[in-house]
């Protein structure tokens, strides 16, 4: 299967990751190879086979909604590039 420039542009938009032309030239063939590898799954007979979502059976476990100590506001904000008035700061969106 061939991978088109338009498909790449769509993917970049969805993933919010942009490749420079040299990056894309470096990885185009690799990307194609991996897709071809993935395509080999088409040969698997999956008729009536349940998909395996996790190796273990997860169950919902309920507990009381109790207040427990967590991160202090200052600790939670400490790793952000920009903060203001005790909040994370991002460029204006309105």
């Amino acid at each position: 299967m061939e991978f088109s420039e338009q498909e790449l542009a769509d993917l970049e938009m969805l993933a919010r990751v942009e490749l420079s032309e040299s990056e894309w030239n470096r990885c185009r063939q690799a990307f194609q190879n991996v897709l071809d590898l993935a395509a080999s799954l088409q040969a698997v007979d999956t008729e009536e086979v349940e998909p395996m979502i996790s190796p273990i059976h997860l169950m919902n476990v309920m507990r009381e909604d109790e207040i427990r100590p967590g991160l202090e506001r200052e600790e939670a904000l400490a790793q952000a590039t920009e903060t203001e008035s005790g909040c994370f700061k991002v460029p204006r969106i309105l």
Partner: protein, 484 residues
């Protein structure tokens, strides 16, 4: 002087359990062991460490003080160790070998880091790896590649290359790595040390940077089976902070070491010994089988016919989960943020494009592709169905066998830079390890000699769900047979 150098070498080369005996006897202190490791780390040229813990000697002094008061906490108290740099350590930078997290200092510690600290271990520092654990060579690191201590021109394996190289070069008495598709076992094999990937859920992943959530598991890298059991005893078990950690009761893993190989039923799946496996690796694995057979194990050939789909299923599932997990890196709450941007969308896109390396971006795009509308059923769902079939194969053979024996890697360590051009060639090297993660099983890589170039070879034992004890039993018996 030569004598003191060799005494230091000998001390550094001890297993963790032997070092523990010396600490208990009082013939050496934790501060001495820690200083020795720090000196060796500073002198090493192999780039195994990204960050050294400035408080290591302080932690060692505290361990010595506890021991003097008769309050030593157990066999690991005072033992210097190190952690892969995707395991969060409060107050100590945790980079994931990525520009994205190059300055990230976690506000809390991973459960495994906390449990080792509570057992008294001294944290030496954080270990180099492939960026976000994506890779099999430890060359995809923002901090430069890890070199193999057995031959510095070669890769250390990956993605936990720093964790394996540090143990092989005696820079730490043991380390932890993480294993999503072989990332503990393969570098352990290539560096000539032992690495275990426990059952999915046996060890808490709270505070470990997520790559592929249905595959990731933490594992110890050690010098022998006894150390592996000691570390497992300290870190395994239910954690209320990790909903995927298992409740099942914990055995004392040290007990498994004494059982010997007599009566052990070992299957060698023929799909793992065929095309693509180097002759020297195959022979080394057969030697391990011979050693165990000589001790009374029953060795037979078996089959896991759906093995051929494991690699494709693995790359589809791991990339899909990675693209979701890595969605959180947007430059807002923590991590790298780009300098110049006009609006929020541009800030996020530039942050991610500049902060992630090539391999990470490639996998994010691949995952985005396989999860997108129109392709989901053809790739992701089909990969999950293949996963069910691979699991069925394993369940079937484990009705007949206690443990499976395979190579860990089809070849020994290759030259740095050699396979850059074609990642698929590198992906293919994971063929012996990925099916274990796909099925969530435990497996262990045992060092089993060297090839004609002197490069280490690893043999892999695979057990059924929660079969860590039988892995240790087989590994301990093989070690004993190898020494006899």
């Amino acid at each position: 002087m030569n004598q003191s150098i060799s005494a230091a070498e000998e001390l550094a080369a001890l297993t963790a359990h032997d070092a523990s005996c010396r600490l208990a006897e009082g013939t050496v202190s934790s501060v001495q062991l820690t200083q020795l490791m720090l000196d060796r780390i500073a002198a090493s040229q192999n780039n195994a460490f990204i960050t050294v813990n400035p408080k290591a000697l302080e932690e060692a002094a505290a361990a010595d003080a506890r021991r003097q008061k008769g309050e030593a906490r157990g066999p690991l108290d005072g033992i210097p160790m190190a952690l892969k740099d995707n395991i969060s350590t409060q107050g100590l930078r945790t980079t994931c070998a990525s520009r994205m997290l190059a300055e990230f200092v976690p506000p809390y510690s991973a459960t495994v880091a906390r449990r080792l600290s509570e057992a008294g271990c001294v944290l030496l520092g954080k270990l180099n790896m492939d960026e976000f654990a994506m890779g099999s060579t430890s060359e995809n690191s923002y901090f430069g590649p890890v070199r193999n201590p057995r031959d510095p021109q070669r890769i250390a394996g990956g993605s936990s290359g720093g964790s394996a190289a540090a143990v092989a070069e005696n820079l730490a008495y043991f380390t932890l790595g993480s294993d999503t598709g072989g990332s503990v076992r393969q570098p352990a094999a290539m560096c000539g040390v032992m690495g275990m990937k426990p059952t999915y859920g046996r060890i808490s992943r709270y505070g470990v940077v997520a790559f592929a959530s249905s595959l990731d598991q933490i594992g110890p890298i050690t010098k022998d089976a006894q150390d592996c059991a000691l570390v497992l005893n300290a870190i395994a078990g239910k954690d209320p902070y990790d909903g995927s950690s298992l409740m099942n009761p914990l055995p004392d893993y040290l007990d498994a070491l004494k059982d010997g190989a007599a009566g052990l039923r070992i299957g060698i799946p023929k799909e793992y010994m065929g095309e693509g496996i180097s002759e020297e690796v195959r022979m080394a694995v057969e030697r391990v089988a011979g050693l165990l057979e000589a001790q009374g194990a029953i060795v037979e050939t078996c089959s896991l016919p759906r093995t051929e789909y494991a690699l494709s299923a693995y790359y589809v599932i791991s990339s899909a989960e990675a693209c979701s997990n890595l969605g959180r890196y947007d430059g807002v709450k923590y991590g790298y943020r780009t300098q110049a941007y006009a609006n929020l969308a541009e800030m996020i896109e530039k942050t991610r494009s500049e902060g992630f390396g090539d391999e990470v971006k490639r996998r994010i795009l691949l995952g985005t592709y396989t999860l997108s509308a129109g392709y989901f059923d053809a790739y992701y769902k089909r990969a999950q169905q293949a996963r069910t079939l691979i699991m069925e194969d394993f369940r079937k053979v484990f009705r007949q066998y206690d443990v499976l024996l395979t190579p860990t890697s089809p070849v020994t360590a290759w030259a740095l830079g050699q396979k850059h051009a074609n990642p698929l060639e590198i992906y293919a090297m994971d063929v012996c390890t990925v099916s274990v993660n796909v099925a969530g099983l435990p497996a262990l890589s045992l060092p089993c000699g060297t090839d004609s170039q002197g490069l280490p070879i690893g043999a892999q034992f695979i057990a059924n769900t929660l079969g860590e004890a039988v892995l240790l039993r087989a590994a301990a018996a093989a070690e004993k047979g190898g020494k006899a």
